[in-house]
């Protein structure tokens, strides 16, 4: 018994914060739904939050850990939703339904999305920062257009694809289970040599190459895994709704996912989970609270909150205020873990300290003839 207690004490709890948090939420709400005491609005809210969390974690790999800017995450989700939904539809034709159909659809949807993740990852090898951002945005729009113009028989055309809806009382349990899977894959990956390689590429691509990291391989790997989980989120979406229409997956949606990741903090999975929850919750609450004539204020309020949060979180002038009043300082205060040097943190950093990636450094020019200029990367990001 005492041996057990010692072992229990030695567990690095902070490593498991995310699992414990998600599992507790899952547990509480599972019990509630089994007791049939959850209103459906809560069930739907949980589904939405769950999907957002998967999206946020998966995009976090590309943006937060690999350091590439992607504005096309909704495109992967769209592929997952359509392919997963179609698989489920075909399966229900041959009599496979329920959880088995869902699992098979998830596998098919995730794999297809992963293939596209590979394809989109290829230009990422050549393009940087905002150029990659626009290419991913373009990819997302192309996928959307392709599905919108599909024939009625294949993917339903503009009407969208009718997909079998999963029992709303239990779908969120499955979604949250997939969050756990997604978390496990991401965290195990990040805390391994492969994750270190990816983070190293983010921090300094040139040094990473010189240290023997195969940049091509790891960039593609990050894109593939990220796309696969976006695909999973898409399949979940198709089971949470009775139709999947491509118009939902436009660049605005990609941007919303990016907002979740950015507000969560670079390479901060817990932050991504929290901000995905808060943003989704905020959106839903604004929709249900500002009704009728006030609906027009919804976007106004959302935009204001967004701008204020970003400025508060990032403005250099507010640095000292920020360091005193933030969630981490608060939790540190509660758990008194402020200066535990022996503890290994995840490789979180600050967005503005990443020197080689996500930069906007093109020069203004009036020349018609293309000239070459040399940039000194050590100047970047230091302003």
């Amino acid at each position: 018994m005492s041996a057990f207690i010692v072992k229990f004490k030695n567990i690095k709890w902070k490593r498991y914060t995310n699992y414990i948090g998600i599992s507790l939420v899952l547990l509480v709400f599972t019990v509630l739904t089994l007791a049939d005491s959850l209103p459906q609005s809560t069930l739907f809210l949980l589904e939405k939050i769950g999907i957002s969390i998967i999206l946020s974690i998966s995009l976090g790999l590309v943006v937060g850990f690999l350091g590439e800017l992607s504005l096309g995450h909704a495109g992967f989700m769209c592929i997952g939703a359509y392919i997963g939904g179609k698989t489920a539809e075909l399966l229900s034709d041959v009599g496979v339904e329920g959880i088995f159909a869902l699992l098979i659809s998830v596998v098919v949807g995730a794999l297809t999305a992963a293939v596209f993740g590979f394809i989109v990852g290829l230009p990422a090898l050549r393009l940087k920062g905002d150029y990659l951002a626009i290419v991913t945005l373009a990819f997302c729009e192309i996928v959307k257009t392709a599905f919108e113009n599909s024939s009625k028989e294949s993917f339903g055309g503009p009407m969208g694809l009718r997909t079998p809806r999963f029992d709303k009382h239990y779908l969120f349990i499955i979604i949250f289970s997939f969050i756990l899977v997604c978390l496990a894959v991401m965290q195990n990956l990040i805390r391994s040599k492969h994750g270190r390689a990816i983070t190293a590429i983010r921090d300094n691509e040139i040094a990473a190459r010189a240290t023997g990291i195969n940049v091509t391989k790891y960039k593609l790997l990050a894109f593939i895994i990220s796309a696969a989980f976006a695909g999973v989120a898409g399949v979940m979406y198709s089971f949470a709704n009775s139709t999947v229409a491509a118009s939902a997956f436009d660049y605005n949606y990609s941007i919303e996912i990016l907002v979740m990741v950015v507000l969560g903090g670079m390479g901060n999975i817990t932050g991504g989970i929290i901000s995905a929850t808060v943003i989704t919750f905020l959106n839903v609450k604004l929709t249900t609270m500002l009704t009728g004539d006030n609906a027009v204020l919804k976007d106004l309020v959302y935009a204001l909150i967004l701008v204020l949060i970003v400025i508060y979180n990032n403005a250099p002038a507010l640095k000292y205020v920020r360091e005193r009043y933030n969630i981490r300082a608060l939790t540190d205060k509660i758990f008194k873990k402020r200066s535990d040097v022996s503890y290994d943190t995840d490789d979180e950093g600050k967005w503005d300290r990443v020197p080689t990636k996500i930069k906007m450094d093109e020069l203004l020019s009036v020349d018609v003839v293309v000239r070459e200029s040399v940039i000194d990367p050590d100047k970047e990001g230091k302003e």
């Binding site: 920062g129 373009a138 990819f139 192309i142 113009n149 907002v259 701008v307 906007m360 000239r371 302003e383």
Partner: protein, 297 residues
């Protein structure tokens, strides 16, 4: 014949894209940010023209009232661009480009919903004096198309000369090249960035005018699609490059019109435009006229 008409339509549409892309490129090259709210400044310009043209029509001769409206739109947009930069972007100077990007998205959504609060969601028709059209044999080209094209070229040339010849323009180049060094050389960064936003936003107001001359309807989402298209155009031409913005805009407009003119391709127009973007970037990662940059090791 058919071909020529489509080409003219394409060039005219491209001129509008180019005008927006010029603003994008200026702001990008100097403030180093993707100003996603740029499209919505066009929308504000459009509404300004709508309001001032409507209030002054009847009291003033049509041409004068139109010019008055355009002038007001330019002033309002310039002030708006200046204000947005000071309130939303300046506090974030030195922070991550991503934070600025998200703020720009927030500003964009804010402006759109504000327009809906004030003007409602329905499209408004904007009255323009009929400018007529020019007949060249079988071809008829409306004067508004010609005005759009000529103005775009003039604006591009003026910008080029401004940047090349004036002190402020050269300071802009310097700030774009190396902000710290420029500051050390006595360039007032805040002033240069403000000027850039003022110029970019004034161009947006003009773009709003030309869009309205082309299609005289204005609504809160008026700017978002042209905004994205112009961003695409700027990237195709090589973001940061003033001639590149022009080239990319025209190219995109022509492609759009030709794709629309083929019934089987028409539904895929957006996809085709974006596919061209991807191909160009894969072949030339910095766009057609973008500066090729090599990282120093």
């Amino acid at each position: 014949m058919e071909f020529l008409l489509t080409l003219i339509n394409g060039v005219s549409l491209g001129g509008i894209y180019a005008m927006i892309a010029l603003g994008y490129t200026m702001v990008y090259g100097i403030a180093k940010m993707l100003n996603f709210a740029h499209g919505d400044i066009i929308m504000v310009g459009g509404y300004s023209i709508f309001v001032f043209a409507a209030t002054s029509f009847g009291t003033l001769p049509p041409w004068v009232s139109l010019l008055f409206a355009v002038l007001m739109a330019v002033i309002i947009c310039a002030l708006l661009g200046f204000g947005v930069e000071k309130l939303a972007y300046k506090p974030l100077r030195g922070a991550s480009p991503l934070a600025v990007l998200i703020t720009a998205i927030g500003v964009s959504s804010f402006l759109q919903s504000l327009a809906q609060v004030f003007f409602g969601s329905a499209a408004k028709f904007v009255q323009f004096p009929d400018l007529g059209s020019l007949s060249l044999g079988e071809l008829t080209v409306s004067y508004s198309t010609l005005i759009t094209l000529i103005s775009t070229v003039i604006v591009m040339l003026a910008l080029t000369l401004f940047v090349k010849l004036t002190k402020t323009g050269r300071a802009m180049l310097a700030v774009s090249e190396d902000r710290e060094a420029a500051q050390l050389m006595g360039v007032n960064i805040n002033f240069i960035i403000s000027i850039t936003f003022i110029i970019g936003s004034s161009l947006a107001a003009l773009a709003g005018l030309f869009s309205l001359m082309n299609v005289p309807f204005i609504k809160p989402t008026f700017g978002s699609l042209p905004g994205i298209k112009a961003f695409t155009a700027a990237v195709i031409g090589g973001i940061g490059s003033i001639p590149g913005a022009m080239l990319g805009g025209i190219l995109l407009g022509v492609v759009e019109c030709f794709s629309n003119s083929v019934p089987t391709l028409a539904p895929y127009t957006n996809a085709i435009e974006f596919a061209i973007l991807i191909i160009i970037l894969i072949v030339k990662p910095t766009g057609i006229l973008g500066k090729k940059r090599r990282e120093k090791v």
